[in-house]
């Protein structure tokens, strides 16, 4: 391990003391922050040359690569997606739990298991394909009991998983359990967990989607994932359950292999990378490929450490008991700010009036940039990403609270959305296909749609025909709202703004995004 300066130690100690004394952080948030600061003192990774100039800057000072605070010595993969179906079938020796035999035991076992699923947030980012897991047990009790138990289960998750980067999946096949889950989340209006309905034109009925839409208009979830698209992209292997595919949607909207996960996620800050280029050609042929290369080698090194040095896969019970498999992990090659990059480059070419999301030339430049990144990734090899053919998975990252003038992934900046939703959707149809490990767009919906949820159904069905990947809707007046990918309650942001404690750490991120990301100003459809 490399030595570091005493100055750096002392700065970190100051920060630790600030955390200890903070008025707004809860106990759990303090513990997590202390761990991050302690980790920041470790120096064990062999960093590629040129990285620090791109990484160690503020976002307003030209930062080009961001590792999303994963730490200096990752002690576990970033996102872990356990095979809960196996747990339901076999129980766990480490947790001393036999397979559950009824709904009471199933819910209790899951709640226990969640406390043992590590992640970058220290909370489970994936809580299971809950309809498939619970449906066999739901049939044994009367519906009112099932509803009550599942309601308590969801309340328990919201109050103990203190971070809304936590995701449950249902669909594509409608089930009794799936219906109960939708009814329960619609009633509770809680932020946690996030929920996705896998949607397949051949398997998902209109009724089931409409039930989802009605819940979403109350509580901003579920979101809708293009099931055939994801299923085709993730190789067969272990499945999340009958017809549920070999992938899951975890954290914000991350498509990940079932029974595995993602080692790491770094992101390119495309707008800042564009600022370094003299023009479009310089960006496309020199600057961008160079930054991609450095970020990829940085990710390679992080992965090497997790796999070869951290001991995680040898020692953690999840791996030892086969709930996760090392060879089902990949890594997420993320990006933000395509819009800012395109606008900046066109400005450099003297075409200031051309804007991403509106002009043909701008959108085509966006596609060209995505093709460069896609081709780069297809040529870059990492031996520990077997599940994705030895390559990373592209990810349209949703941004973090401190981002300023950075649009998530390939989104059109808030305030610049095309006047017509049809034109907006047309732009998206060029970009969703690249992001196997997730992208998504969010539409606040006018109140009148409460009377006509079929309107949203038609948009979902149309969008998936056009190869869009993932869509979220919420009602312009609801308390639970989607920030960038995760959910937060407006009422909780209000509390935090009044300097009161709030239970979910994502509320602070939501508050940041409200101010820096203008997320309350999205165009209502």
């Amino acid at each position: 391990m490399r030595t570091i300066t005493m100055d750096r130690v002392n700065t970190t100690r100051e920060k630790m003391l600030d955390v200890v004394k903070s008025n707004t952080l809860t106990h759990e948030q303090k513990v997590a922050n202390m761990a991050i600061l302690a980790d920041s003192l470790l120096e064990v990774l062999e960093l590629p040359e040129g990285l620090s100039d791109l990484l160690e800057r503020d976002i307003t000072d030209g930062q080009c690569i961001c590792d999303l605070n994963e730490g200096h010595a990752p002690l576990r993969p970033r996102y872990i997606v356990p095979d809960y179906a196996k747990f339901m079938k076999e129980g766990s020796a480490f947790l001393e739990l036999p397979p559950p035999s009824d709904l009471y035991e199933a819910l209790n076992s899951l709640l226990i298991f969640y406390k043992h699923v590590p992640s970058v947030t220290n909370f489970p980012v994936y809580v299971g394909q809950l309809d498939v897991l619970l449906d066999p047990f739901v049939k044994d009790v009367d519906e009112a009991t099932a509803h009550k138990l599942i309601r308590l289960f969801f309340t328990h998750m919201d109050r103990t998983i203190l971070d809304s980067f936590s995701h449950a999946n249902i669909g594509p096949v409608p089930t009794k359990a799936g219906e109960i889950i939708l009814d329960v989340v619609g009633e509770l209006e809680d932020a946690v967990p996030n929920l996705t309905m896998k949607t397949d034109p051949a398997l998902t009925t209109d009724d089931f989607i409409l039930r989802g839409v009605k819940a979403a208009l109350h509580t901003a979830k579920p979101s809708f994932a293009n099931h055939p698209m994801f299923t085709a992209e993730f190789p067969s292997g272990i499945s999340a359950g009958k017809d549920a595919g070999n992938y899951v949607i975890a954290s914000c909207y991350n498509g990940l292999p079932y029974g595995g996960g993602s080692y790491t996620l770094s992101r390119l800050i495309l707008g800042n990378i564009a600022k370094r280029a003299s023009g479009i050609e310089d960006f496309c042929t020199k600057v961008l490929p160079q930054v991609c290369d450095i970020m990829a080698r940085y990710m390679d090194e992080r992965i090497r450490f997790i796999v070869e040095d951290s001991g995680f896969f040898e020692n953690n019970f999840l791996a030892k008991e086969g709930f996760i498999r090392r060879d089902r992990f990949s890594a997420m090659f993320g990006l933000v700010g395509l819009a800012e990059a395109v606008n900046c480059l066109l400005e450099k070419e003297g075409k200031k009036g051309q804007r991403f999301g509106h002009d043909k030339e701008a959108n085509e430049l966006g596609v060209r940039i995505m093709n460069i990144i896609n081709d780069f990734n297809a040529a870059h090899e990492n031996k520990y990403c077997e599940i994705s053919g030895g390559h990373f998975l592209l990810h349209a990252q949703v941004g973090i609270a401190s981002d300023i003038d950075v649009s998530p992934g390939t989104r059109i900046p808030i305030g610049e959305e095309p006047a017509e939703l049809r034109d907006h959707l047309e732009v998206l149809s060029h970009f969703h296909k690249y992001f196997v490990s997730g992208t998504g767009d969010i539409f606040p919906i006018d109140l009148t749609v409460h009377r006509n949820p079929d309107y949203v159904l038609d948009i979902i069905r149309g969008a998936f025909k056009e190869n869009l990947r993932y869509l979220s809707f919420y009602s312009a007046d609801s308390d639970v709202i989607r920030i960038t990918g995760y959910l937060v309650k407006r009422s909780e942001i209000d509390k935090l703004e009044a300097e009161q404690n709030v239970k979910h750490d994502t509320t602070a991120l939501g508050m940041g995004a409200k101010h820096n990301g203008k997320i309350l100003e999205r165009k209502v459809r």
């Binding site: 939703l421 009377r451 006509n452 309107y455 038609d458 948009i459 969008a463 025909k465």
Partner: protein, 278 residues
């Protein structure tokens, strides 16, 4: 050919699901509470509006006003100026010219609604347009005041999935005072469409002091109820709101929620299950 006032590409309020709505210009009634009075009449080419247009979208030559929709910013200055309840922003389009603007919304829409003004003033255009829509797998709805004698247009009916009909007043003298026209044609259309399973929705606008809403809702529901087995029919009870209404008629009051729900109860008591208040 028909005068097209406007096309709304995605609409959640003009029938089931997501629909493209085509508004045609010109109307044969004169409702006191019309919410888009500028769709009532055809332009007489007086030229008054040309000068108020800030973008040069309107021009006047050889006695005719012409409109360049690519320059228009929809500021509505022209229609506010017009003293003839008309709009210069009209494009005379054939069905074949209109359809491509609908097709652009595929695959996001399930159907098309043609509204107005009064769209049934152009039955041949409707028949041609709906035939094209049907070929593309879209459903077709007409939004009408019910003055057309649908029985005389079997070709139109065969390509129309449903009609959304305004029943403004059951009493003919009240109807005349509200619309300047008799309601015999409207009531004939109501019965005919209900009998033939072509009624999608009926609407009554509730304007306290102007319309006999209780009587109207009850009698209308009675006509519909026996035919509900042919297809479900929605009854939409619409509260009058002064926004957009011509100045002389803005003083009417908005009905209170108690009145509106009592009207909904009347429709339900007659056997209608899908009753909504907007």
């Amino acid at each position: 050919m028909a005068p097209v006032n406007r096309i709304i590409r995605f609409s959640s309020v003009d029938g089931p699901g997501n629909r493209t709505v085509v508004f045609l210009q010109g109307c044969n009634m004169n409702c006191r509470y019309c919410h888009n009075p500028e769709t009532r009449a055809l332009c007489v080419h007086c030229g008054d509006c040309v000068d108020v247009c800030p973008t040069g979208a309107l021009s006047f030559s050889e006695g005719f006003v012409s409109y360049d929709h690519t320059k228009c910013i929809f500021c509505d200055a022209c229609i506010k100026t017009c003293r003839h309840d008309a709009s210069p922003r009209i494009r005379n389009l054939t069905a074949e010219e209109t359809f491509p603007e609908i097709e652009k919304q595929l695959p996001y829409i399930r159907g098309v609604t043609v509204s107005g003004g009064e769209c049934t003033l152009y039955p041949d255009y409707l028949t041609a347009l709906f035939s094209l829509c049907k070929e593309a797998g879209l459903t077709t709805l007409i939004d009408t005041n019910g003055t057309l004698d649908f029985a005389a247009y079997p070709a139109l009916l065969s390509v129309t999935d449903g009609v959304m009909l305004d029943v403004k007043s059951w009493d003919s003298s009240v109807h005349r005072s509200v619309t300047d026209t008799d309601n015999a044609d409207v009531l004939r259309s109501l019965s005919f469409l209900a009998e033939h399973g072509k009624l999608e929705e009926v609407r009554t606008v509730v304007v306290p002091g102007l319309v006999d809403a209780k009587y109207t809702v009850r009698e209308t529901a009675r006509v519909i109820a026996p035919h509900l087995s042919k297809r479900p029919v929605r009854y939409k009870i619409i509260a009058f709101r002064p926004m957009g209404v011509r100045e002389a008629f803005r003083s009417y009051e908005t009905p209170d929620t108690a009145l509106l729900s009592s009207l909904a109860d009347i429709a339900r008591a007659e056997g209608l299950s899908d009753v909504i208040i907007v």
